[in-house]
Amino acid sequence: MANTPFITGYADSLSVRPGETVQFMVSAEGVASAEVQLVRLIHGDMAPGGPGFVEREIASSLSGTVALTTQFTQTGSFVRVADPAGRLTPAGSFTVHAFVWATTPGKGRQGLVTQFDAASRRGYGLGINESGCLSFWAGDGQAVHEVAAERALMPRIWYFVAAAYDADKGTVELYQEAVVNAYNSHLSPLLELDDGSRVAGALALTPQAAGADLLLAGFHDQRAGHGPVVTGLFNGKIDRPGIQAGALGLAELARLKEGQAPQGASTVAYWDTSAGYTDNGIGDRVQDTGPHGLHGLGYNRPVRAMTGWNWRGKDDCFRLAPAQYGGIYFNDDAIIDCRWQPTLRWTVPADLKSGVYAARLRGGGVEDHITFFVRPTTATAKVAMLMPTASYLAYANERFVLGDPGVVEAITGHGLILHDDDYFLGAHPEFGASTYDHHADGAGVCYTSYRRPIMGLRPRHRMAATGVPWQFAADMSIVWWLEQCGHDFDVITDEDLDREGAALLAPYKVVLNGTHSEYYSERMMDATDQYLARGGRVMYLGANGYYWVVGFRADEPWCMEVRKLNSGSRAWQAAPGEYYLASTGEKSGIWRDRGRAPQKSMGVGFTSEGMDESKPYRRLPDSYDPRVSYIFEGVGEKFGDQGLALGGAAGLELDRYDLMWGTPPDTFLLAASSGHSDNYPHVGEEIYFNLPGMGGTQDFQVRADMTLFKSRAGGAVFSTGSIAWGQALPWNNGNNDVARLTQNVLDRFVRDEDVA
């Protein structure tokens, strides 16, 4: 919402344990102070038929009044190069050069390689001007003059660009030439692209050094009421930029254009954007292989492991041909960390029970919940609820319905229902988007982080695409049920699982997963399999889980990376050759394309999605097998005909048993849903030839399967194959057959005896 008071914020750590300190970063507008209260969150969904929103106030030292300010967020990815000795604005003549692939040349002035401060009008920049043309500009503290090319850069075409400033003559020579091969650009070299440019112009001033960092993909400015900011943010890729002393001539520029690294004493700096790669990923450092070693550091994670100006299409990974992967992709709307000042700093008390908590802030007639998860110091229960925080990150601040809602409504088969959170996000583009969205230039969002306010982490949030809660708020329906099921439980998160592996799960007899545990790192997959192999038991109460391959850097658990490849239900598709995670070096995409279909670990895997109605299940012969019939005590032949998510327990997204994809051979196929509409089509990754009639009314593969199988050492997996299952648990205050069945399974799973 624009121009209305708000309080919002984030916790710097999503998972904390007693004794650890968590900081809450809060920003507000129109609210000077707020009352802070620690609350234990019990339920979120306010749908009729359920318990509504439930929180419990907890006395703690977090309580009190806190003054609020409006905090600034620097969006956009760029590279900073500290230049304490002032080498990067050479006295006298110099040349700036780079390879560049611009996606929005017409969006306004953008910096490519700059050491320029617009506020003080000092320094210089090689960039793109308001006409979309390559430009070199410089300021002397009084005025800024520029020399610009006469032809605009074409989007998504690789160019070699350079500006040679001759201090003696007071001239700038601009050089721009496309370097297109059959693979690297949007268009083919068979076309005559009328885009080369060589322009010489006078620069009627002597550049004065800005005395600031050199930037790739932006330039410095001042913002009233805040101070220094980076603006002029560039969209697109930059490859191997550099600065040479002297005004280079055509022969020297031609060598650079061929891709030769600059030689000799004239090199001031040369950032070899393809250097420093490892098999396990690429960090934020950009190496200067020149004489001064002025390395750069990425801000808001410029995307690495991207194809460069010389990509030839044979190798599809930066590990195979690093020299062809020098492209660094910048986006003007990227946000990894808001870097706000801490508003509250609080140490989790030793006696705080593990669970889902929030700092509730109330003031000026508005309220906000900043959610975080408290895990125990050591396990305190036989049961753990694993909150799928990696998947919360993936969906964080999804903006499906803003701007161009595209095909969202066609996918869901449900009218769009917007809430205030959606308008709030619309008014705050700086809070970034989800991995289901696109950057302003159309690139898919591959990084997402929780160091920013996230609407989906608010307990009452509903997703506009369907009008029902999704991810965190939906999982709170499982948490509500656990709170009253008679078993103690601990709360743990994907973040802990990724960092600690199977050791995190080992103390628990049973681990429940959430409604939609879709995003899994390799460490999370391995931890799950190891836990099961050592006798652990998992209740997978969701669907479309264990699906996307994601990666985290070891030291930055708040930020997750995914690349959506050429199969799977995907909101975007990575460009050819950009399939590998910069965070870990792994191939991304869906796990099944790496030989680990979810069926191998969970018995079921993704088969359909649709969001118009949910349906009940009907029992199958295995459910009457005396070894497992305890699961159905008090449950009829048909069950799950109610729930908070679209009126049933089988709905939203569905998973299916399939021996071909690795469902264990001795799996009990206990029940299956049926009657789904044609708004539930069979998923794309299972379709080799498209044909009519792939919706729920004509394709038997459109269904949720309920399965049970045993793993080694007494371990077991029970799966419901449906996202809507969790949201059916609290129906009628928990008096329903879905809750009964879940209780039957949990009661047995916590005991030592075999499950079948």
Binding site: A2, G403, E409, G415, I417, Y423, S677
Partner: protein, 120 residues
């Protein structure tokens, strides 16, 4: 050489022609029974005709709902929702039943469909 009265993306011309033909095919299929079918149950599996009609509307949505009080109050809005805008329902009608509100969106879509036919 270049005809500037045509869009840079010529496919838009095909899209427009396709839409026009599709909408012309759909208009004669609108009956009181079809409208009543939607009113009774706006979500889920419908008759083939209603499914086709809804598929068409859903591929290019013009209206949506705004819910000031989740699950309790619904108003019809027009898409797209531009960044920085506040909710601006197209009228003062507040539906307390979600299905009624979804049907109101359907009626708006129908009205547009029939009007665009009349203008021809």
């Amino acid at each position: 050489m270049t005809n500037t009265s045509l869009p840079a993306d010529r496919q838009l011309l095909v899209y427009a022609r396709f839409n026009e033909e599709l909408r012309a095919e759909m208009r004669p299929l609108i009956t009181e029974d079809l409208i009543e079918e939607h009113r009774r149950r706006p979500l889920g599996q419908h008759s083939d005709t209603l499914m086709r009609l809804l598929n068409m509307f859903r591929r290019a949505p013009v209206y949506a709902l705004y819910s000031r009080t989740p699950c309790r109050e619904f108003q019809v809005i027009r898409l797209p929702v531009t960044e920085g805008s506040n909710p601006t329902p197209i009228d003062d009608v507040v539906y307390t039943d979600q299905n009624e509100a979804l049907h109101a969106v359907f009626l708006r879509n129908l009205e547009d469909l029939m009007r665009s036919g009349g203008a021809k």
